[in-house]
């Protein structure tokens, strides 16, 4: 559904995208996972025909992003990272406006947005600028869907959104996928990767890996040791002073440790920490998560 071949894009002397190639299947929920400055927005804007690539080509549903830009705009829905609706139009007026621009009506495609829109319908006369963050997000999604797009592109829809609203938003995306829409979504939250069918890990304009979230973590060859102690701050410092330590990173209530050449044994660490009088010590090998993989690939 989306075919990207060797796309490059520079802004002055900064290369935002370096020969990126990627394809997204029909009906897929595909995640672009990476931090600010990785190139996620640039790539999405190129696909949305809002920006021209320096080189390479991309197709959306067989249509070329440069030559067929007008046709593409009819089949894609876009939710930009920054709230871009009309602040001084009401909820209903915004939706009506977007429907009219695309030559359709709210009624005609109401089915598609019902589950999302009904939550903000009680506020339909309120100005969009006066909505809470969560409600703005639902309105923006409704507006992006009102012309029944084949492809939906969402640029960091959950950034700065609390954990509860993030969960709800992903449930909405899953429901849209069930209706046959191909979805490309970007996020800086690594834990959201597991909610996608496939993901591309992207950093500094380069794709580090593309695969299903479970495959990405399964094929990761490194041995990750999870460590816990009562005094976490001292634990991190002590582990960093361990002679064969390669990386030591806090992961919530645990620390994830990798040894040089993965040659550090559980028993060694256990002994090392006991000698340093740590209490409530847990040392165990675990399966890596997406964030472990990302951090490892990032430092290569």
């Amino acid at each position: 559904m989306i075919e990207i071949k060797n796309i490059s894009k520079s802004y002055n002397d900064i290369q935002a995208l370096k020969e990126i190639s990627l394809s997204v299947e029909k009906g897929e929920l595909f995640g672009l996972i990476g931090p600010d400055g990785a190139g996620k927005t640039t790539l999405m804007r190129i696909l949305m025909t809002l920006l021209l690539p320096d080189s390479g080509e991309a197709k959306m549903n067989e249509l070329d992003v440069v030559k067929d830009f007008k046709k593409i705009r009819h089949i894609v829905g876009y939710m930009p990272g920054r709230f871009s609706l009309y602040q001084d139009l009401s909820v209903e007026e915004n939706l009506h406006f977007f429907a009219t621009v695309f030559g359709t009506t709210i009624e005609e495609n109401y089915d598609l947005i019902r589950d999302i829109y009904y939550q903000i319908e009680p506020f339909k006369t309120r100005r969009a600028g006066k909505l809470s963050g969560g409600m703005k997000q639902k309105l923006a999604l409704s507006c992006a869907l009102i012309h029944k797009p084949k492809i939906l592109i969402l640029d960091e829809p959950t950034t700065g959104v609390d954990a509860v609203s993030r969960k709800e938003f992903w449930e909405m995306l899953k429901a849209l996928q069930q209706k046959g829409i191909t979805i490309l979504v970007s996020t800086p939250y690594m834990d959201e990767a597991s909610l996608c069918d496939r993901v591309a890990l992207i950093q500094k304009g380069t794709i580090l890996d593309v695969d299903s979230p479970s495959r990405i973590t399964e094929k990761f060859p490194r041995k990750i040791i999870q460590v816990h102690s009562e005094d976490m701050f001292r634990l991190i410092q002590d582990l960093r002073s361990f002679p064969k330590a390669e990386s030591v990173f806090a992961f919530g209530q645990f620390v994830h440790f990798t040894g040089v050449n993965d040659e550090v044994e559980i028993s060694e660490l256990d002994k090392f920490l006991t000698e340093r009088k740590h209490t409530d010590v847990i040392v165990e090998e675990i399966h890596p998560g997406i964030e472990d993989v990302f951090m490892s690939l990032q430092s290569l």
Partner: protein, 239 residues
């Protein structure tokens, strides 16, 4: 332990809407205090009051020993503030930003010069001294923004979503700085949407609809809510 922030029955109303509904809590000196809550729960309103930028409707609040109604200027001298949205002036250089903050907080220029050199060495940013902020990588900006926020050696630093959008390695390096500041006796008051970061706090409060629904160490909260991690605790309280 020393109380550095005491809040008793803080109420803030906007017309008929109660944004903060009888908040009562203390923060101890040197503590890393996580201030969590869903969007719209009332966190920003409370932080603005604690920083002396907004007056509460009622309640007794002392920040670093100073009264929130009468001594806001003293409060401002004793706190630092950093947010993801605003921290440094993009069209000033690294050095100019440091000098500007030093000047605002009344640090004598000779001392400011020495401290600036020390800071840039510590951050390994000496080569960027004359570069504009706008050209720096986000990770550098954040480290610098935090360092500038504590440049005048405040008693408390308020961090409002300091790590939004950065890569996982940079995010963890940022927390190294937070730990270091806390180790040096600076109290850290921090909000975040990353629930793994809630685990790094000494104590965490969770707000919902204007009220503090839970306040304890991450360990005790997980026990109380029968949860494996802070993400589960948060979902149980805020959903």
């Amino acid at each position: 332990m020393d109380k550095i922030i005491t809040v008793k029955n803080l109420v803030k109303k906007f017309g008929a809407f109660t944004a903060n509904d009888h908040l009562t809590f203390d923060v101890y000196r040197g503590e890393i205090f996580g201030f969590l809550g869903a969007n719209g729960a009332g966190k920003t309103t409370a932080i603005r009051i604690l920083c002396g930028l907004s007056t509460p409707t009622s309640g007794d609040i002392k920040i670093a020993g100073y009264d929130i109604y009468r001594e806001t200027e003293k409060i401002k001298k004793n706190i630092g503030y950093m947010s993801q949205k605003f921290s440094l002036y993009e069209d000033l250089t690294v050095s100019e930003n440091i000098r500007l903050y030093a000047g605002i907080y009344g640090i004598p220029s000779k001392k400011a010069k020495e401290k600036e050199a020390e800071l840039l060495e510590k951050l390994e940013m000496e080569s960027a001294r004359k570069k504009l902020i706008s050209g720096l990588p986000l990770g550098w900006k954040q480290k610098l923004a935090f360092s500038v926020a504590i440049f005048h050696e405040p008693k408390i630093v308020f961090l409002d979503e300091p790590t939004g959008g950065v890569d996982p390695v940079t995010r963890r390096k940022f927390w190294d700085l937070i730990y270091e500041a806390s180790n040096n006796g600076i109290t850290v008051f921090v909000t975040t949407h990353y629930m793994d970061e809630a685990e790094y706090c000494n104590r965490v409060s969770i707000m919902d609809a204007g009220k503090i629904e839970a306040l304890d160490t991450p360990g005790k909260l997980k026990e109380k809510y029968n949860a494996n991690n802070m993400d589960e605790v948060f979902l149980k309280i805020a959903r």
